[in-house]
Symmetry: C2
Subunit: 324 residues, 2 copies
């Protein structure tokens, strides 16, 4: 048995590979088998993370395992899907037992946190990268699409923005700060929590939703384009954590919130009548603006005047790190 | 819109991304949505191909697109699943339009041949590799597992063995031969045909099945171990193509068939009573041995004596190419 066959066996015996809701057959045959409840659709998303592009190389394998699964699973939450399982395609230059054990522990911790079962995968030799494909279930017709936002809806987010982008100099070791600042920010980078409970609560309420991965402005454009509406974001309403505001001046913190990416909180639109009940159950939600007729994303200052952000786009990890 | 966003749009408009059986929502939202008929299970398999490990680098992108999907889809056929769709995670060092167009054409040709719809994916920058996750459906309880082989069963294969392994020196440009030999052998390497029709026909008939990817001996061990039986392979019954027998002497051709891998034909066990009807409908099938009490894979000569093959294992592309 070769080293990569051993790795396969190793993952096959991991706690998160011991089956779960809907998993009729896990690792060990040509295919895994998944069952869906009657009337449910299967939600599927695939994400690849490449060393040096999407995460620093080298990095702590435990943290990488956590983060890789969280990033992929967040797409399920954004669709309003309940978690089922995932496959892992892991490409490694070498099979190092200590690395693999720590990676699997991190992966397993996030899998258990999310309620996702490892159903299968592939392990190959090559430059370090990971592709995770995640599976969830959602009642037919209730998936949260990007295309239903209506003028008059509220524009809302599921929690503070900008922490992961603010943490990047800490992730890269370019800056040292006190633990009470670095610990919460690094946690937002390395172990974002997919908002499954919120996604389920938004079924039948939200008119559009997605998870913020490329930054609020860039992802807001996706909802605006898919729905054929304009999104108006009020700069003063952006939720910023106290840790981020301790690390950065307000303009820099807002830039992280607008364009930094890697937040993995939900951005959604909601008829105003739905807001009170939803907020009562999910205290971290914030209204950050509104939906209007028109197109694109508009940023408004406290006086309601349109302003132009310095950067609207998403930068890959490599570009972002080079720019600091 | 960045170059990788453009690629995403490019694949989203490919013919194979225009939906198909069961695809309720394709490319463009956080997740794709798939529907399953009542009483069916979803079969899932993931395969990664790394440049220089699983295929030569550089290589023809059209051929790579064909082969990558065929290799992944073959696992569905081996499970007796009907094809539904797939996701593509493509990591590329650069976005070159001509390369992408040829790759997508090859992918599309195999997708249409197999009846698979491109449902979603991810495109990232990094060293060239591909991860495909394929989806099929199979009635509950009818999936072809590896674990049901019984003593007394016939051991069968879905077609000639060893062609892809024999083609490797041609793939690598290490040997030139006449077109009537090279064309069929290169086709077996670059565009293996997943045996979906055979897989469907084996539902309710075969007691165990898989697709041969690592070589007959290595994959035979998987059925023997999962079923708790011995497989007896009769050397003289190995089906070898005329092209392979023109390229290689008989012992070398047999070595390719036993250990070469990359065949992507089905290996299965069958009660003898099932053979006549099955063979009548699938002329390429061959009985190559039988199932007995015991364990492991035994190779028998014409006199029924056990012999030891020179190599039983699978070698990655890199190792195989280095050895030639």
């Amino acid at each position: 048995m070769g080293e990569f066959e051993l790795i396969h066996q190793y993952f096959a015996t991991a706690p998160c590979a011991q089956g779960g809701a809907g998993v009729a057959l896990g690792i060990g045959d040509d295919c895994a088998l998944l069952e869906l409840p009657a009337g449910e659709q299967l939600a599927i998303s695939t994400d690849t993370l490449v060393a040096g592009v999407h995460f620093p190389d080298p990095c702590e394998p435990f943290l990488l395992g956590q983060r890789a699964l969280a990033v992929a699973a967040s797409d399920l939450a954004a669709m309003g899907a309940a978690p089922l399982g995932f496959t892992l395609a892991l490409t490694l230059p070498h099979a190092q037992p200590a690395w693999l054990q720590a990676f699997a522990q991190g992966l397993n911790a996030m899998a258990q946190c999310c309620g996702l079962s490892l159903m299968g995968g592939d392990t190959t030799r090559g430059p370090l990268s990971l592709t995770l494909t995640v599976f969830g279930s959602v009642p037919r017709g209730q998936a949260l699409r990007r295309s239903g936002a209506q003028p008059g809806d509220l524009l809302c987010v599921g929690g503070p923005l900008g922490d992961a982008a603010g943490a990047l100099p800490l992730v890269l070791g370019q800056r040292q700060v006190a633990a009470q600042i670095s610990v919460p920010l690094l946690a937002r980078y390395w172990s974002p929590q997919p908002q499954f409970a919120l996604g389920l609560a938004l079924r039948g309420r939200a008119t559009a939703a997605l998870d913020i991965s490329d930054g609020l402005l860039a992802d807001g454009e996706h909802i605006a384009a898919a729905s054929g509406v304009a999104l108006r974001i009020e700069l003063e309403r952006l939720p910023l954590s106290s840790a981020l505001l301790t690390l950065l001046e307000l303009p820099a913190a807002r830039a992280c919130a607008l364009s930094g990416g890697d937040d993995y909180v939900l951005l959604f639109t909601l008829p105003p009548s739905q807001w009170p009940a939803l907020q009562a159950a999910h205290g971290e939600l914030r209204v950050i603006g509104s939906v209007a007729a028109g197109q694109g994303v508009q940023l408004l200052d406290a006086a309601g005047q349109s302003i132009t952000p310095a950067a609207r786009g998403y930068e890959h990890f490599k570009a972002a790190s080079a720019a600091k």
